[in-house]
Amino acid sequence: MSSFEFASPRTEAEAVELLAAHDGQTAVLAGGTDLISLLKADIVTPQRVVDITNISSMKGVTSVTGGLLVGALTTLDEILVHPLLAGHPSLAHVADGVHAIQIQSAGTLGGDLCHLPNCWYFRNGYGLLGTLNGESLPAEGRSDFHAILGNQGPAKFVSASRFAPALIALGAKVRIVGPTPDQVTLLPIEYFYVTPKSSDQRVTVLTPGQLVTHVWLPEVSSTLASATYEVLQMEGLDYPLASAGVALEMNGRMVTEARVVLGHVAPTPWVSHDAAEVLKGRSIDEATAQAAGDAAVARATPLAHNEYKVQIARTAVKRALLRAVGQLEGVS
């Protein structure tokens, strides 16, 4: 870990100003469960670290016109039990899947959205794209946990966010402040993530000096069903092999609109229009859920070591759909 300055502001505006220094060579510290490891490995080397955990406006969940505003500092254990989020079970499914009270109490929603890829080449110092002498390491080396979709470009890692699939399916937006305090952007979360084409690009649209302050969730109707299913190898703290967040607008037992978003299968959360198309106008049962799962992975292009993830992604979609309509039984 290299030396850096440290500041712990009380307001968003102050934070943004502090982040603007050093030409944006700064880092945002919230729960620390990802950033500190990146700092230790000198993968992230900021000149200043801004600890945002004392910014009270970024905490908690509040009801606003048309929806809910969830502070980026809302912790996983708060998401799990917050009464205002009771209508969004797909979020609680994610928080519940993080099997560690330490991460549940320190980990934040904003931190999860900005979590950098877990790709072992990236984490071992081969850059975001994992290259050595210009060659892609995941393409030729061990791709066990890498992308099966959207992997035709140089990026083969998978997006690390666990909440993004559910949030995208729910139509959530992310509120970004900066680089100056008066610059505020509300962006649908599916546009927040980008696939880098070169190693100097990023995994989100965030530019230096910008801060994710809140997530806005649209109000849900009583006919909306949502769920997340993560396939975890370990029952304990582990990142998913694949996941799916789904939101279904129901008319009785009939799906009128569906949104299906896969996680950990592509460099960004992966919106599957193909799966959604299968569901429209049908009721959810084992067969339709399976068909949607098949559709979601029909265009998969697995790498040398991760063909198995196609089946896992298919299962995630199928089970998220069944869970959304209360039909997931007999599997953990």
Binding site: Y121, E135, E140, G141, R142, D238
Partner: protein, 716 residues
């Protein structure tokens, strides 16, 4: 006077022995006051960090360790390699160490050195499962072959012949307390706090290379955060700490970082095998033929296969082995070497043979017990019956692959054996004139309960509460005692202490007899008193006053062939699990181990050993493995995010049944640490095959391997 013979007392008269006794050093560990070597922080301590190589095979062309000395806080630097002579042979190999006032300053020093290094990168080979690639890369060597009987003829005459491929990947010891030490010079004397399984044997390992007298070195190891067979030596990083402490004139603490711990401080060799095994119409195995390969790292050896097929001796067998020289960290002994790999490569193939015969695995193994070693067939049969009852084998067993729905349930079993005889031990027991008792020995408690069982033996012998005896271990200045490996510690220390304590007691009895005019032969010590028959003669304290002004000191030694200790243990394991065929996940429901191990001193810690072994077994069976990346030659998952160990929710219901009929008690004490970790690989793999009808050939059975096997299909 009747002959005084060292022996354990009748089982029904034991007050402490065989009961569930909580460990005496539990509380300091629990509240964090127990000091491990990694915790030693004497005044002025410097903190060290390592420069390691990120190439699998290279030469260092240029390095400037002086660069670190310009970094603020850096007080000493050490170079591990002679850059003209030494090659880097694996990812993580040590290059230099830096000691500084603060850990982060040491890290700055490391970076300063790294910036000066120029490598010549050489070709690497790390593809340990790939025999053909190893041959092509000229990294293979034939390690030998052996045979007995006429395998060809036996196969020709067999009812059923099965051919299969099996394997088990390399794992790292992954001690939670990494290897390392705290070294402090006091004049010419070197004090080392070492995380070690070998307190008595490591002083010389520091002294010789440092060019000092062994008498000037003191090794202290009060607590050790895991060793599992990997902590017997001083290690080059131990010498580095001592040298840097000398250079700086300050204490130095050097513990390996996590990645280096996984890459360099010990691995268990991988094993892969092609097997042909045949049985007659009754289901008895008539022939075994196998070819093995794998790696133990840069030496080009492999798993020691002399005991294959395990633990059987079939009438006809043939086996051969090829070793692969890989650019991977060297192996070290891993809990029960090499039995876990042998079991996983044998009893999987046998279970497939049973399936091909259409036999229930239970009946098949029972039928073949006659071929097991060391006269244990009868015990295995008893243990199988107990285990089957505990897990509901006969009710739950089904032929392979039957079951509806995506989640399929299966049963599997395997059996194991181990020596576990008593190791060498010398102890010095002091009975003080005030009645307090203590012992000194250069042994160590590696988490197995050594302090506790010594306390039990002394307290039981003297008729005292556990609080009435004090155990001093963990210093090389105490009487020499063997390293803790191979499950030899419990027999070694309990035998030596029983002998010493009985000798001391007899001396005291003689004095009591003289003073109180009673027969020494009729005396017994219990409840803090001395009895003649049922009549109380005096208190323990009164008796000890008769010793005189100086303590009674008695030396205990072992092992001896006096019946206090024995060897050879066996056990049977059965597992009930589910396989989610849509995700490849395996979930353990219930895992039963029935284990014999002679006389059990502490039922609680004995069970803990078994339960812990089952969990370690679940780890290497389902999730834990070293993943080598052919492209970079690196150990790509050397961190705790990607080196997956089971968590508390992954282990299911674990049942340890200690099989201790009178015949076992009468054998005396036998070691237990290793044996129960042997069979989980085969038992779990067999249960998965029973569940899904397909053999997943290579351990660990990760979702990837399970799904790949299901996709490939075929009958196991």
């Amino acid at each position: 006077m009747a002959e005084r013979k060292h022996a354990w007392g009748p089982r029904d008269q034991n007050v402490l022995i065989g009961k569930e006794i909580t460990r005496i050093d539990a509380l300091p560990k629990i509240v964090g006051s127990a000091k491990y070597s990694a915790d030693i922080n004497s005044k002025g301590t410097l903190f060290a960090k390592l420069v390691t190589c990120k190439h699998a095979h290279a030469k260092i062309k240029k390095i400037d360790i002086e660069a670190a000395k310009k970094v603020p806080g850096v007080k000493a630097v050490h170079l591990f390699k002679d850059i003209d002579e030494n090659e880097i042979k694996w990812d993580g190999d040590l290059i230099a160490a830096v000691a500084a006032e603060r850990a982060e300053q040491a890290a700055d020093g490391v970076k300063a050195i790294e910036a000066t290094i120029e490598y010549e990168v050489l070709e690497h080979f790390v593809d340990e499962e790939n025999l053909e690639a190893g041959k092509k890369a000229e990294r293979s060597k034939v390690l030998g072959s052996a045979s007995e009987g006429d395998v060809e003829a036996a196969i020709q005459g067999a009812k059923v012949v099965h051919k299969g491929y099996y394997g088990i990947q390399t794992i790292s010891h992954m001690c939670l307390e990494p290897h390392g030490s705290h070294c402090e010079w006091k004049g010419d004397d070197l004090d080392v706090h070492l995380s070690t399984q070998n307190v008595s044997g490591t002083a010389g390992q520091f002294a010789e290379p440092l060019g000092i007298d062994e008498a000037n070195v003191t090794i202290t190891g009060n607590y050790e955060g895991g060793g599992f067979g990997s902590k017997f030596q001083a290690d080059e990083w131990g010498l580095a700490a001592a040298k840097m402490a000398k250079e700086a004139g300050r204490p130095v603490r050097l513990m390996l970082d996590r990645a280096t711990e996984l890459k360099t401080a010990g691995t268990r060799p991988s094993g892969f095998v092609e097997v042909t095994v045949a049985a007659d119409a009754e289901g008895k195995v008539v022939a075994w033929e196998s070819h093995h390969w794998g790696t133990d790292g840069p030496g080009g050896g492999g798993v020691d296969v002399q005991q294959l097929p395990y633990p059987f001796k079939f009438p006809n067998f043939k086996r051969s082995q090829t070793g692969l020289e890989c650019n991977t960290g060297p192996n070290r002994a891993w809990r029960a070497p090499p039995h876990p790999q042998l079991c996983a490569m044998t009893q999987t193939a046998l279970d497939d043979l049973a399936a091909k015969l259409g036999m229930n695995s239970y009946d098949f193994f029972l039928k073949n017990l006659e071929f097991t070693l060391n006269d244990k067939a009868g015990t295995y049969a008893e243990e199988m019956a107990i285990a089957a009852k505990a897990i509901g084998w006969q009710e739950k067993w089904h032929p392979r692959g039957e079951g509806k729905g995506p989640v399929k349930r299966g049963l599997g079993m395997a059996l194991h054996r181990w020596g576990g005889g008593a190791g060498p031990c010398t102890c010095e027991v002091k009975v003080h004139p005030d009645g307090s008792v203590e012992t000194f020995l250069g042994s160590q408690d590696i988490g197995t309960g050594t302090r506790t069982i010594i306390s039990i033996v002394l307290a039981e012998t003297f008729g005292l509460p556990l609080s009435g005896v004090k155990v001093n271990l963990g210093s090389s200045k105490y009487p020499t005692s063997g390293a803790s490996g191979g499950s030899i510690t419990v027999g070694g220390v309990s035998g030596a202490h029983r002998r010493a304590a009985q000798d001391a007691l007899w001396t005291i009895f003689d004095k009591v007899a003289e003073k109180y005019k009673v027969e020494a032969d009729g005396l017994s010590a219990r409840e803090g008193k001395i009895f003649a028959g049922k009549k109380e003669v005096c208190s323990w304290k009164d008796a000890c006053r008769l010793i005189g002004p100086m303590p009674l000191v008695v030396k205990g030694e072992g092992p001896k062939k006096d019946g206090l200790t024995a060897d050879q243990v066996g056990g049977v394991q059965m597992v009930d699990l589910s396989v989610d065929t849509e995700t490849g996940n395996v979930r353990i429901h219930k895992f039963v181990c029935v284990q014999d191990c002679g006389l059990i001193l502490d039922e609680l810690t004995a069970k803990s050993q078994v339960l812990g072994a089952l969990i370690m077994g679940i780890a290497y069976s389902l999730s834990e493995e070293r993943i080598m990346d052919n492209k970079t030659g690196r150990y790509i998952n050397a961190d705790l995010k990607n080196y997956k160990l089971p968590r508390i929710g992954d282990v299911g219901e674990l049942v340890a049944i200690m099989h201790q009929p009178a015949s076992e008690y009468d054998r005396g004490v036998v070691g237990l640490g290793e044996p129960p970790v042997i069979a989980p690989g085969a038992a779990i793999s067999n249960a998965v095959a029973n569940a899904i009808g397909v053999r997943v050939p290579v351990l660990p059975l990760t979702p990837k391997r399970v799904l790949d096997a299901l996709k490939k299909g075929g009958n196991a």
